[in-house]
C-alpha cells in the first residue's frame, strides 16, 4: 500500500487508515471480531460506557425504516469497572487504535469515567453529548452551545487522552456547536449522531419503539450527514470525524471530501459485517485509480464547479 498512503493523524494519534466504527454499532469489537480482522481497522470506537451499569430502555428498542433504522437502546452498558476488566483487556491484543465513547447523566459521571481511563490503554476519548434516547445527561449537554462549551472545558481539564466531542444533528446550527467544542479545547469533533425520529405501527396503533422516539441511522441520513460534516469542517480547524449511513467506499469518500479526516461505519455493520473492510479496500482502490498518493489530498477537497 506504499503507493497510496492512508494513514491519518488526529491530535497526535496516528491511525493506519481513516476507517473507524460508529459507537454503539460494534460493541467493543468482540462480537464482530468473528467477521472482521480488527487489526485492519483505523480504530475501534466502543459503545458508550458510564461510571455505573445502565439498564437501558424497554423493548422494542430497534425498528427498521426505509433505508435506515431507529434505535432507542438507551445506552445500556456494563459500567466502567467491567469495561476496563473485560473490554479493554480484549482490545489490548489488537493492533488498532482504541477510542472509548463516554456517557453520563451528570458532568461528574463523565469526569469519573474519564479519570478512570486516564492510565489505561486508550488512545482517545469520544464524549457522547448527543444520544437522543436517554432523558438525563447526554443530549442535554449537546444541544446548547454554552452547555457544550462547559462540559467540553471540564472534560479537557480531567482527560489524559485527546478528546473528541460527538455532536448531535438535532440542532439549529451545527457550525455554532462545532465552534463551541473547538473553543472549549476539544481536540476533534465527530458527527453525526442519530436524528431524533419516530415510527408508528399502524396495525397495533402504537409507537414502534417502547421509547416512542428513537435515533434514525443508516443510508437514509447520509446526505444530511455529509452536509453537516461540510458545515462543521468549514467552521473549525480541529479534525472532523464524519459518519452517518456510510455503506461503501464511495460514501466514505464523500465525507472525506466534505472535510472529514476520518470516517466511521455505523448501522451498516448490521447489514453487512464486512462493511468496514470493504470501505478500506474501496478507498485504496479509488486512490490507485485516480493517482492519489496520500489520503490527505482528498480531505476537504470538494469545490464548486
Amino acid at each position: 500500500m506504499s503507493d497510496a498512503v492512508m494513514t491519518v493523524n488526529i491530535a497526535g494519534v496516528e491511525f493506519k487508515n481513516p476507517v473507524m466504527v460508529g459507537s454503539g454499532t460494534f460493541g467493543s469489537g468482540m462480537e464482530y471480531s468473528e467477521f472482521v480482522d480488527l487489526n485492519k481497522l483505523g480504530a475501534v470506537v466502543t459503545k458508550g460506557v458510564a461510571n455505573v451499569p445502565w439498564l437501558g430502555n424497554p423493548t422494542p428498542r430497534v425498528v427498521e425504516t426505509c433505508g435506515g433504522m431507529l434505535n432507542a437502546i438507551g445506552l445500556q452498558n456494563p459500567g466502567i469497572d467491567t469495561f476496563i476488566e473485560r473490554d479493554l483487556e480484549f482490545l489490548k491484543d489488537y493492533d488498532t487504535k482504541v477510542i472509548v465513547n463516554v456517557c453520563g447523566k451528570t458532568v461528574e459521571d463523565y469526569l469519573e469515567v474519564v479519570e478512570r481511563l486516564s492510565d489505561k490503554a486508550v488512545d482517545m476519548l469520544e464524549i457522547n453529548v448527543s444520544c437522543p434516547n436517554v432523558k438525563e445527561g447526554a443530549i442535554a449537554f449537546g444541544q446548547k452551545a454554552d452547555a457544550l462549551f462547559n462540559i467540553t472545558e471540564q472534560i479537557k481539564k480531567h482527560a489524559a487522552q485527546p478528546v473528541i466531542m460527538k455532536l448531535s444533528p438535532n440542532v439549529t446550527d451545527i457550525a455554532e456547536m462545532a465552534k463551541a467544542a473547538e473553543a472549549a479545547g476539544a481536540d476533534a469533533i465527530s458527527l453525526i449522531n442519530t436524528l431524533t425520529a419516530m415510527k408508528i405501527d399502524i396495525h397495533k396503533r402504537t409507537f414502534a419503539l417502547a421509547n416512542k422516539t428513537g435515533g434514525l441511522s443508516g443510508p437514509a441520513i447520509k446526505p444530511v450527514a455529509v452536509r453537516m460534516v461540510y458545515q462543521a469542517a468549514q467552521a473549525v480547524k480541529i479534525p472532523v470525524i464524519g459518519m452517518g449511513g456510510i455503506a461503501n467506499a464511495e460514501d466514505a469518500l464523500e465525507f472525506i471530501m466534505a472535510g472529514a479526516t476520518a470516517v466511521a461505519v455505523g448501522a451498516m455493520n448490521f447489514h453487512n459485517p464486512y462493511t468496514t473492510q470493504e470501505v478500506i479496500d474501496g478507498i485504496h482502490d479509488y486512490m490507485i485509480k485516480y493517482g492519489v498518493k496520500d489520503i490527505r489530498e482528498l480531505t476537504g477537497c470538494v469545490k464548486q464547479v
Partner: protein, 255 residues
Amino acid sequence: MSKRKETARVISQEKLADEIYSMWIKTGIASDAVPGQFLSVYTKDKTRLLPRPISICEADDKDGGRLRIVYRIAGAGTKEFSKYKTGDEVDILGPLGNGFPIKNEKAILVGGGIGIPPMLELAKRLKGEKTIVLGYRNKDTFLDKEFLSYGNVVIATDDGSLGTKGNVIDAIKENKVDGGVIYACGPTPMLRGVKKFAEENSIEAYISLEERMACGVGACLGCVCKSTDTDDHSKVKNKRICADGPVFNATEVEL
C-alpha cells in the same frame, strides 16, 4: 466453523398454509447448525437494512449441506423471501444463538404458531420418548404431519376446529401429557403459560424468545429480555436474546 455470512442458493420453496412458507436452501452453514439456532436472512431490496431473524427448521449434511426455514410473511421483507424460486441466491448469516440443550429425559416439545418450526429439528435429534404439542389459530395447520414420525402429536387450536379448543397448556392438561423436560417456542403469552406450568409441576423448561433485532450477533443490545438475576455480561438484569439465547432456561428470564 464459526458463524459467517454466506450467499446460499434456494433448493425449493413451497407454501404450507396461509402466509406460511417453507424454503430449503443449500449452505455449508447447515452442518454447524443445531436446533433452536436461527439465521439472519437479508433482503435483496437494499432499502431494507436489517436482516430478518428466522429459526432453523431443519438442517442436514445432504448435498453438501442444506437447511430449511419455515416462516410467516410478516412484512415486505419476508414477502420478498416468499417469492424466491429454485436457484435464486439468498444472503444469510449464521448459525446464530445457542440452541436447545439435548437432555436424555422424556420430553415435551411445545410449539405455538410460527414458533413451531424449530421444534422439528429438535424432535429429530431427541432420541428418547417425547410428546409434541402444537398450537394453531385454526385447522389451517402446517408441519404437524411431519412430526408424526418423531413422537406423539397433540394439537390445540384457538377456535377448536382441530384438537383441543384452547391453548397448548389446555392440550397438555386434557391429554395428560407428562415428561421430565419441556422445550418451547412461540408467542410470549404462550411461553408465560409454559413457564408457569413448568414451575407448578417442577419440570425443567427451555424456552426460545424473540424480539426485534438489529445486529443478530450480540453487539447492538437491541434485542434484550429481562433476566431474573444480574446478567454476567450486561451487569444489569438484561440478557441478549440473539447471543445469550434465543433459548433460555425458563427460570433465567422474566416474561
